[in-house]
Symmetry: C2
Subunit: 204 residues, 2 copies
């Protein structure tokens, strides 16, 4: 495949990492363009809806992380065997995204007291609610989130592993045996293993 991919994002894992996981999995070379914070305000105005990540592909600039991941998943055979399975994968991905949004909402709380209260509630209730459901799904689906085989939902979830841990300040997957196993399996895919080993260090 002669396709040229250029990912535009910040120098963090964040919302770029699911895309980097997919590009690594697909074993296609890609330009991992990490935009310096100082250049961002000026660039923001030129970008559709002013948000990163974007992916330049086929002369177009795709935006929205989930849409970009789905596009790549189709190219690499990770988007389900039919429309129903594609919809099941999509639903799990949107649910992972719901969890991510709730975790990130901690940072949007207007003051320290409400931040700490929200943090406790999300770590004690929201996170276990979602993770136990994901654990069940993986148990029922032969070690994967959907359809008994690897899909982009698996890469999407596992790509957030470190950052969920940063927010919770612990290994959030450790208490969920099936998610933990999925993480080990995804990290064991040679192309992903190589990506993790060689990616530039960032705190988030």
């Amino acid at each position: 495949m002669a396709q040229h991919y250029k990912l535009n994002y910040f120098h963090t894992r964040g919302q770029g990492e699911p895309i980097r996981f997919l590009l690594s999995y697909g074993q296609v070379p890609f330009e991992d363009n990490r935009i310096e914070k100082e250049r961002w305000p000026q660039l923001k105005r030129q970008i559709p809806f002013g948000q990163l990540p974007t992916l330049e592909v086929e002369g177009k600039e795709a935006h929205q992380v989930v849409a970009i991941c789905r596009y790549l998943a189709k190219q690499f055979g990770l988007a389900g065997r039919d429309d129903i399975e594609a919809a099941q994968i999509d639903a799990v991905v949107d649910t992972i995204n719901d969890l991510r949004t709730k975790l990130m909402s901690i940072y949007l709380a207007p003051d320290l007291t409400s931040k700490e209260k929200l943090r406790q509630q999300i770590l004690d209730e929201t996170l276990p609610y979602y993770l136990s459901k994901f654990d069940e799904l993986i148990m029922e689906n032969n070690g994967y989130l959907v359809g008994g085989k690897l899909s982009w939902a698996d890469l999407f979830l596992i790509s957030y592993y470190e950052n969920f841990g940063v927010i919770a300040q612990r290994d959030v997957f450790r208490d969920y045996p099936y998610i933990h196993l999925l993480k080990e399996n995804v990290h064991g895919i040679p192309a992903i293993e190589n990506w993790i080993k060689t990616r530039p260090f960032s705190a988030f």
Copy 2:
């Protein structure tokens, strides 16, 4: 198509309405199951990830409104002519959903003062930001959000017309000539026109 569709949602437009728009557009009969609030706490435990809407189709229960809409859009030829166009539609839909989430966040503010402050900020800044971008897209795309022809992104946006108006307490599309025209065109599709004329009344 002998397919049987059953939509499970509350007696509101809300997150059910984009699905009802798509099912109406596809001219397939569907069961519009509206769950009474009193029955919800008991039902919630039986539903994947405890959230409505769900769509029962092909003996499965699909969840997540965007995933359900995309599935239906594929059945009805509204999901783009290739993977790139599908990704463009997906990105616009996720962006509409970002706007919807921001609008709904007004209801989650912890107290009346912060609610009013957030409300003003969202109505004065966030809403015009997104709507002017959508207006531009429609201007550039021959009257539609993507690809110069009707896609499920158009039905998705217009299905929220009344509820965005309820939140803002005015006709939010009126100042955006291209969105306004898209609304008129979508409402003028005979199957959608018929749905709007015959749907059960609800405040939201």
